[in-house]
């Protein structure tokens, strides 16, 4: 490779050197992450005495996990993107609303078809570890396997590179295939970036896959893996470290195979690059590479409150270590108290014997008497049987517990934002301070999550532009104007993406008190001010105060509802109903003359009236019957008299 490491594909040796360097560089970060993850899953060790007269019990409080859950719950499962219109004109707003809907539907479908819960997991990592990572890639081989082609050499290749099959696919096919972009969650400890200043130049991501998976993949060049003659369970058990190398142009897959072959009972030491303590290193072999051509990394790095990991150290380490220590202390106190409670309420008995009474001069006390429940027993006067550990209240335990909880709340963000009382908060002023502090932490995280959501949407749009396959379709089920569910395809057209639209993102759920406050603010902002008009326009109120996406669509719905209401309340409806009723009463009351036998004069009169042009000689034609006609607006009939006349003829017997 040239020195242009931004855009060239590195050789195997360069990958080996680069991977070794980054693995060592990020070791401290990964150790910190491992400690946090252990604490979150309750795997932190708690020291306890070995030889005791009681059984120590270990309890993990999971206090850190509880804080994380609370914090994560304040943010939405998926971000909502808002496309900012280019100009205040109506057409620009409509266009931005359509693109906004399409992007949000695309994100939702991408999430559904991808790794599962990608954004939420990456957001939690951003909160806990100060950075969450996702890889956004075009994946035709995963979702569109039928479009992967085989060339004359028998090698599979992605159609974006050489084939026109994607470009030639019609809209029906594209709708069937769905959105060809997916998102993969990447644990931060498996991601080894290389930054130059603020720019992510290249990165190495480690992913473990079974050897069976690697050998099966038609896109991979596995010729160098054929020497590993495994079968059966060994194929599943052997985990291969796959390195995803990504720079501004290339996405390459390398497999790290054992560098040292130890052919002892066919045992090879496969390197595990996800471990911080790498026992053996491997040799990279190129499996597959393609040009994504985005001009930037395909990874979306979601920063937390300290801006993410640009170097091997981060201010989150201080906060994290503090939380770890406090959580550890909390676990130990909880374990001690729990052990104490257990020892008190399942008591060990201490028996005091009087040596003189018992006839002992010197030596050890006798063995304690084994007393069964309900059993009578006797002791000498002055002797005693009592529990070894007596129930005694210790206010220090409660005080210590409250302190730890309070401090963890300050470090991690207080639940007081949701109205929960925290220990030691006695006054409203103090609570307001806590709310301010918690909100400040949330705002920083919210801002960074919002930026990352915009980056995510931008990455998706860049992929669509580069793919150059025309419109990309996503499907959503929504409620139609009649209140029933209906499906709708939204599309993103690459022609609308030059330049990329400006976007905002909403990542946080409003608190229940926020919604009431927002509506109150909206109403006050729209109040008439003694002839000066409202303070804010409806569009601004909806977009900014109520965070409604596509406020012009909302206005349209209001206009339609208002018009409907006016029509329904007007006299038009009443008049229509009266007409329909009159018609019903008239037509339904008309008798059915099937089988009627009128007098000949009556029959003749009916014929004359129905056929005023003259009936000629008397025939068996009789006037028409009137089976009650359909209600509502009667359909226009051609020559109803003739038709009705034939019906009467069929139904009457002129036997008079």
């Amino acid at each position: 490779m040239d020195n242009d490491y931004w855009s060239g594909l590195p050789s195997n040796d360069e990958i080996q050197e680069g991977l070794t360097y980054v693995h060592e560089y990020w070791r401290d970060r990964n150790k910190f992450i491992a400690e946090i993850r252990d604490m979150l899953s309750g795997r932190n060790k708690i020291e306890m005495p070995a030889a005791t007269a009681y059984k120590p019990r270990v309890v993990h409080s999971y206090a850190l996990a509880a804080i994380i859950n609370e914090k994560a719950s304040r943010f939405t499962q998926l971000p909502t993107i808002q496309v900012v219109p280019d100009s205040p004109e109506h057409e620009a707003r409509i266009k931005s609303s359509q693109l906004e809907m399409a992007i949000n539907v695309a994100i939702s479908e991408m999430e559904r078809r991808s790794d599962g819960d990608v954004w939420a997991r990456a957001a939690v990592d951003a909160i806990v570890l100060d950075e969450g990572i996702e890889r956004i890639e075009r994946a035709p081989s995963a979702f569109w396997p039928e479009v992967v082609q085989i060339n004359e050499k028998g090698e599979a290749f992605l159609p974006f590179e050489e084939s026109t099959i994607i470009k030639d696919a019609n809209n029906v096919l594209k709708k069937r295939y769905g959105i060809p972009i997916r998102s993969i969650y990447v644990p931060l400890e498996n991601f080894f970036p290389v930054y130059e200043g603020p720019t992510l130049i290249e990165s190495y991501e480690i992913e473990l896959r079974s050897l069976r998976d690697v050998l099966r993949n038609k896109l991979f060049n596995t010729s160098e893996l054929q020497g590993f003659n495994y079968s059966g369970k060994k194929l599943y058990e052997t985990q291969v470290s796959i390195v995803h190398y990504v720079n501004h142009i290339w996405h390459a897959y390398f497999a790290m195979i054992p560098g040292v072959v130890t052919d002892v009972s066919n045992q090879f030491n496969w390197p595990d690059y996800t471990s911080t303590d790498l026992q053996v290193s491997g040799k990279p072999i190129l499996l597959h590479a393609y040009k994504h051509n985005l001009g930037q990394s395909i990874y979306n790095c979601i920063a937390g409150r300290f801006g993410g990991w640009k170097t091997s150290h981060n201010r989150i380490e201080g906060v994290g270590k503090g939380l770890l220590e406090l959580n550890q202390a909390t676990d130990e106190i909880l374990s001690q108290v729990f052990t104490n409670v257990r020892a008190k309420y399942w008591p060990t008995l201490l028996q005091e014997f009087d040596a003189e009474q018992r006839g002992y001069d010197t030596g050890s006390p006798p063995n304690a008497v084994n007393i069964q429940e309900g059993q009578n027993f006797g002791i000498f006067k002055g002797e005693d049987i009592r529990p070894l550990f007596k129930p005694v209240d210790d206010p220090l335990v409660g005080w210590l517990w409250d302190k730890f909880q309070d401090q963890m709340g300050r470090l991690g963000g207080s639940p007081v934002v949701f109205g929960q009382n925290t220990p030691g908060v006695d006054t409203g002023y103090h609570q307001a301070l806590q709310i301010t502090q918690a909100e400040h932490l949330d705002e920083k995280i919210e801002q960074n999550l919002s930026d990352a959501a915009i980056s995510r949407a931008s990455l998706i749009l860049r992929h669509i532009k580069v793919m150059d396959m025309g419109e990309v379709f996503s499907h959503i089920t929504e409620i139609g104007p009649t209140g029933k569910k209906q499906g709708h395809y939204y599309s993103i057209n690459p022609n609308d993406l030059s330049p990329l639209p400006r976007m905002d993102a909403q990542v946080r759920k409003p608190r229940p008190v926020d919604l009431a406050a927002s509506i109150r603010a909206a109403r006050e902002a729209s109040d008439e001010r003694q002839g000066k008009g409202p303070l804010l326009s409806d569009d601004t109120i909806r977009a900014d105060l109520l965070s409604i996406q596509a406020p012009d669509i909302e206005q349209h719905k209001i206009d339609v509802e208002t018009a409907k209401r006016k029509i329904i309340q007007s006299d038009v409806l009443t008049a229509k109903i009266m007409q329909y009723l009159s018609i019903k009463l008239t037509t339904n009351q008309a008798p059915d003359v099937t089988g009627a036998m009128p007098s000949p004069a009556a029959a003749e009169a009916g014929r004359q009236v129905m056929n005023p042009q003259g009936a000629g000689p008397a025939t068996n034609d009789v006037p028409p019957s009137t089976t009650p006609m359909n209600t509502g607006m009667p359909p226009t009939q051609s020559q109803p008299e003739a038709q009705a006349g034939r019906e009467i003829l069929n139904s009457m017997q002129a036997d008079v």
Binding site: T586, M597, P598, A605
Partner: protein, 116 residues
């Protein structure tokens, strides 16, 4: 096919009219089961037959009867707010003829009973 607002409104009119029609019929049948209106006297069957014999074999009288009935039906519909075009399409003459045939048929059966 997607229903429009106009379709919805017409549906509402249909349903309300249908419901009101049933209520009117039910009220009428309860309050006047023999069909006698307020201030009217129900004629005996003999009186009815007497009236019928006057027009029974007279085509011209029958034509007048039918035309008067058609006029009455048209007026009822006008009072209900139905426009002329709609009235014409309902064809009150055909309805009047049906009434005539029904009336004559009933009276002929009564006459036949008298003869037996």
């Amino acid at each position: 096919m997607e229903t429009t607002f106009i379709d919805e409104i017409e549906q509402i009119c249909e349903e309300v009219a249908d419901s009101l029609y049933k209520q009117v019929i039910a009220i009428t049948e309860t309050l006047a089961p023999d069909g006698r209106g307020f201030g009217q006297e129900l004629k005996s069957i003999d009186e009815q037959l007497d009236d019928y014999r006057k027009i029974r074999n007279d085509t011209t009288s029958w034509v007048s009867w039918i035309q008067n009935k058609a006029l009455e039906i048209g007026n009822e519909l006008q009072v209900g707010g139905v426009d002329q075009e709609t009235i014409a399409s309902i064809n009150p003459v055909a309805i009047a003829v049906a009434f005539a045939m029904d009336y004559s048929s009933r009276m002929e059966k009564e006459l036949e009973k008298r003869l037996q």
